[in-house]
Symmetry: C2
Subunit: 201 residues, 2 copies
């Protein structure tokens, strides 16, 4: 029985290995290529353990880490979509939900249900764990952009007000100290011209 379970888990690991080939809009700091969602998932989990004491004291860090390790695996089917996409967000999330059911369906229980529920909890962004996880997931592209002259904001025409509106509320809700850190730095980045120039900005 354990051999059959491990066979299923190995199938899941092989399937999710494809996350290494899903590219995002940000670039690693020393590289000219785009980063992928596997690297990103590691980095946001590393942020979680580094910033743990700035989370709500009610946060169960283990659940945050599990959530962050699985939060992007649906992209194996859907690809990554920048959070500033203005259309098709509901369709995308429905497709990602189907992907999660398919991919977690490779697993035996209890992981199948556990990982599916963790993804749903992350997406709902209601629990203290999901709010903390969301704050970090929204913050990391900003931290990378601040370290490289607004690379993905400029390349994708993302304006300062769009960034503030899209990442401010979730970061403030899930990790207020991180927003206190970011807010003046984003304002300084605007003064530097590190944002794109869509009409909405």
């Amino acid at each position: 029985m354990s051999a059959a379970s491990i066979e299923q888990i190995v199938a899941f690991i092989r399937e999710t290995d494809q996350l290494k080939g899903i590219t995002r809009k940000d670039k690693p700091l020393g590289e000219e290529r785009f980063e992928n969602s596997a690297e990103h998932s590691w980095q946001v989990a590393l942020m979680a353990i580094s910033l743990a004491r700035f989370a709500d004291p009610a946060v169960d860090l283990l659940r945050v880490l599990k959530m962050l390790l699985v939060h992007d695996i649906g992209e194996v089917d859907t690809g990554d979509t920048i959070v500033y996409a203005e259309e098709g967000w509901d369709e995308l999330k429905a497709a990602e939900s189907r992907a999660i059911v398919r991919i977690c369906g490779l697993l035996p229980e209890p992981q199948r249900t556990e990982f599916t529920e963790l993804w749903r909890e992350f997406e709902a962004a209601m629990s203290p764990e999901a709010r903390f996880a969301h704050a970090l997931d929204r913050a990391i592209p900003a931290l990378l952009n601040l370290a490289r002259d607004g690379q993905s904001w400029v390349e994708n025409g993302i304006g300062y007000r769009q960034v503030i509106a899209r990442i401010g509320p979730p970061i403030r809700a899930g990790c207020p100290a991180l927003w206190d850190y970011l807010e003046p730095r984003l304002a300084a980045a605007q003064a530097q011209g590190w944002f794109g120039s869509k009409p909405t900005s």
Copy 2:
């Protein structure tokens, strides 16, 4: 004070971002490039939550995940070395230890001490958590190789007996059910000619 701490943590995240540029000897399943240590760190942490019930019941999964998220960050200074390297292992580990002290030194307390100690605990491979983490870290290249005709074994001339001797004991010690799964598949891979042909094999 929290702003100063977050500044230090952001410096740590920027420094460890370089792990995305440290290449290993394995390749992601659908790609022709080598994988990097950031992707690998995500994958081995995902394995840990997937295989948790096959760990010793004494294992604290949160500590395992923290350990796996930081286990390779010293490679920012040293690069990755294949576990079959036969010379210079002690020098490498000494250099990695210095790297950990430098990189974790960017962090405020308590993370500075915590992450440094987690790395040492992982390297010592004595605690139940470190043994489980080691088992997964040794198993994942084998799982990838079994899914792609022994790619890194063939390319690096790694023989069947070398693999068994190097990964068998830690996997058996940290996750016996995983070794029960792997052992016959490695023997089958030998019959397929998926290993290299050093004299020692």
